[in-house]
């Protein structure tokens, strides 16, 4: 006899309930990771989906075997299922489950390698806008070396253009994360790490830290405003005209252990971003970056052999 739950009229409710459950869990706009607005987040999402499908197959297979085994092989009087008290192995079955996971993992592994290498560098032939990010205790400092402006806890970027973030910390480690655009990267003291992202749609996105760094850590949210290139240039010009300059005294204020609101600066001092950092190569972008001094960042074209 089938359980009463699956009898009419309840039977129709099952797919409905399932659909409602899925809708409420998977498709809402609050699932930022599932609605990326840039190429980095989109490629990462593709990889996530592929892995989820492959792993869904594993889960389905195991759950099927599991429920079948429990129901069929219960120790109940009158159970007619075959009882094989000495069955302790089968060469072919075992070969099957060494091979099966290996195949599924290969399916995930190949795109993993491809995407990881692909996202490591700014796509060839594209000229990124560079933003220097410093995590402070507990705030974010964004400096635009090309535009000579700076901002605290707010970020304005042009759409349709790769943005290369150079990340460091004058604080404990944090991670710099804009979920709508793509994955995170650590900000570490005494090191500079690169991360590139891109927004294809104008809008305001949430950024935050993913690495615990003290009592104010949960307040380290910042707003990312993606605007058209023209609007971006207008914003730069306006900031240079209307905002006040950031002096060393202002920077020392920022180093205090507290949370602050947003701020804009028309210029910033030389020595806030690490003056001595390991140079790093952005192999795919055809650029080699040399960082010797704050105002002496040069991008040298790599010689193609």
């Amino acid at each position: 006899m089938r359980p009463a739950f699956f009898k009419r009229p309840y039977r129709k409710l099952v797919p409905l309930a399932l659909a409602a459950g899925l809708l409420s869990t998977g498709c809402g706009q609050q699932y930022v990771l599932l609605h990326p607005v840039g190429p980095v987040g989109q490629q990462e999402l593709h990889l996530m989906e592929l892995a989820a499908i492959a792993m869904g197959i594993v889960i389905l297979v195991v759950f099927t075997l599991y429920f079948y085994a429990i129901i069929r092989f219960r120790d109940k009087p009158g159970n007619t299922a075959p009882y094989r008290p000495d069955w302790h192995g089968s060469k072919w079955l075992e070969i099957l489950w060494w091979v099966l996971p290996a195949v599924l993992l290969t399916v995930i592994a190949i795109p993993t390698v491809k995407t990881t290498y692909a996202l490591d560098h700014v796509p060839k032939g594209k000229d990124p806008i560079v933003i220097d990010v410093t995590s402070l205790t507990w705030k974010w400092l964004f400096e635009y070396p090309g535009q000579h402006v700076a901002a605290v806890n707010q970020l304005v970027i042009p759409t349709g253009k790769p943005v290369l973030f150079e990340l460091t910390a004058d604080s404990p480690m944090n991670t710099f994360w804009i979920p709508a655009l793509g994955g995170m990267e650590y900000t570490m003291p005494n090191r500079v790490l690169p991360l590139w992202l891109q927004a294809n749609k104008p809008g305001t996105y949430i950024g935050l830290s993913g690495q615990y760094s003290g009592t104010g850590f949960a307040k380290m949210f910042f707003h990312v405003k993606a605007v058209s290139p023209a609007a971006f240039n207008a914003w730069v010009a306006k900031t240079r005209k209307t905002a006040s300059p950031m002096t060393m005294a202002v920077y020392d204020q920022l180093l205090k252990h507290n949370t602050t609101g947003q701020a804009l600066y028309s210029s910033y001092p030389k020595d806030t971003f690490p003056t001595v950092a390991n140079g790093f190569t952005l192999t795919g972008s055809g650029m080699y970056m040399v960082m010797r001094d704050k105002n002496d960042i040069t991008y040298m074209p790599m010689q193609n052999p």
Partner: protein, 659 residues
Amino acid sequence: MRPWFIHLIKLLFPPQVLLPDIVGIDIGLTLSALAIALYLTKARRWGWLWREWLTTVDHKRIGIMYIIAALIMLFRGGVDALMIRSQLIVPEAHFMGAQQYDEVFTTHGTVMIFFMAMPFFFGLFNVAVPLMIGARDVAFPRLNAISFWLFAFGAALFNISFSIGGSPSAGWFSYPPYSELQFNPGVGENYYLLALQVSGIGSIATGINFLVTILKLRAPGMTLMKMPLFVWSALVTSTLILFAFPPLTVALGLTMLDRLFGASFFTLAHEGMPMMYANLFWIFGHPEVYILIMPAFGIFSEVVPTFSRKPLFGYEAMVISLLAITFLSYGVWVHHFFEMGAGPGVNVFFGLSTMLIAIPTGVKMFNWLFTMWGGRIRLSVPMLWQLGFIPTFVVGGASGVMLAAVAADYQYHNSYFVIAHFHNVIVGGTVFGLLSGMYYWWPKMFGWKLNERQGRWAFAFFFTGFWLTFMPQYFLGLEGMTRRMASYPPGLGWGGLNAMSTIGAFIMGVGFAILVYNIAWSRMHPEWDTTGDPWDGRTLEWSLPSPAPAYNFARIPEVHERDAWWAMKQRGETDAVKLSPDQVEPIHVPKNTPMPICLAVSFFVGSIGMVFAWHWMAILGGLGVVAALAYGSLEDDTDRELDPTTVLNTEKRLGRVHP
């Protein structure tokens, strides 16, 4: 008042330990301690406590003490968990301040891993391994007691930070430079460093002890490939401990030098290298999670055959997969920080090695399923935990593979997706496994069974609560919520799932409360196990009476096949374990000794000295350690002999002598 006195009081009782709830708990704990002391005095049990427990070297009693301590720590870590979830139930809740929240998640992680899970399975190793291999004790009984007391005083050291000086707040991973003096000036972090060092010495010693026990003390005929799978898991866990803990010792030691002696290995200033700590910590930390899961794999490999009435499917593959996981576990640590800029080459290597681990783990899963296949499954409580484990662990393993896809991990990293993943494997794997093992071997430890009906309820609540707590957290991760946030703003859509998660956590809490009630009730209404074999077991420990006599085996059994006891039962040769009066030999047993507890107390005193930088006290503790070790080395009279009549009388009373 003198200034030094005021300074001392401020040092011992900073504002963070003077919160009303903490003071309330302090008072409660002090009263309970007084009540216990009063009871012991009234009932004249101090001598009993000292002779039978505090100085014992019997592996069975040490095992029981480990498990009791682990359950207490499970309670503490669980209360921390409920506090975390209470804080997060709605956006911008003010259940507690950010500082207290940071302390609570730090102690939750540290307590659960180092002072709950590890001692719990050390306890089960102690209880079961010697009995399963037909040994009379572990290889080094005194070292075993030293391990236990170092763990116990390490745990005590960690826990008193709650009342005196302030809890650590840098997370269980304690990444510098946040854990350095510049950002974390209190003594809490020192407590963390010292407590883990002290209990870590105990853990390494346990690793050595069980490695030697299993390699040298097996009963005649029990070749490696005839060992029960739980013994195999103890063997590989011991190996993992031996090679994984030294990097932790180094990482903690260097941090201690930074904090106490002004070094700058990992500091912000003087070009410290925080990433070096991350590497050292996770070279330990990743094998550590396999240290936590392997014993559970072993327990399930005993429980499934017993309750399916079938031998383990694919024994050789089970052993090979254990060894493969052990080997691979040393080559995956970078997956904890793909985002620290090691470059795509390194990241891809570690991502793929992480995926590789899924293969032997998947093999184990299928072998357990096919052990049940064609069997006769009894849904006793140990088996229920096992049946809860399979779906939970499969989901956790699957999300683990998703995390190993490097580029995708850039999005998942440090989000609630990760929290859901590792609770799926650590609670669904380790904790379900430990509780399964506890219910399974409980009659062997105490001679009475835990009530089945209450056990089922405990499982039902814990299991349901678990799924309700952690499934929403995967989706919180996809919503971009990062871990360790003391509060979160409204408007991001995180509220509903967090509320569900909190409700689930409290259902788990009810499950734990039923479990404790289950133990207390069953103690008062004991269902005695008179056969010694309550589950119709397969391995040698079930050939002994429950509880086993101090010397375990009056006569060391001879083993001819796997599942030796099952085979004896099948052939109707169970009388072979009984003794003939003419076979009785004298038995050497180790003598009780106060040295282990004195050693641990010295470590404790010295550590307190280090925590508060009172160097005289640190030196005093160090001298105590040297003195205890010297006493231990110079003492000759460490064994005693049980004469044949005593053995014969004991065995007669247990009905195990041929007429």
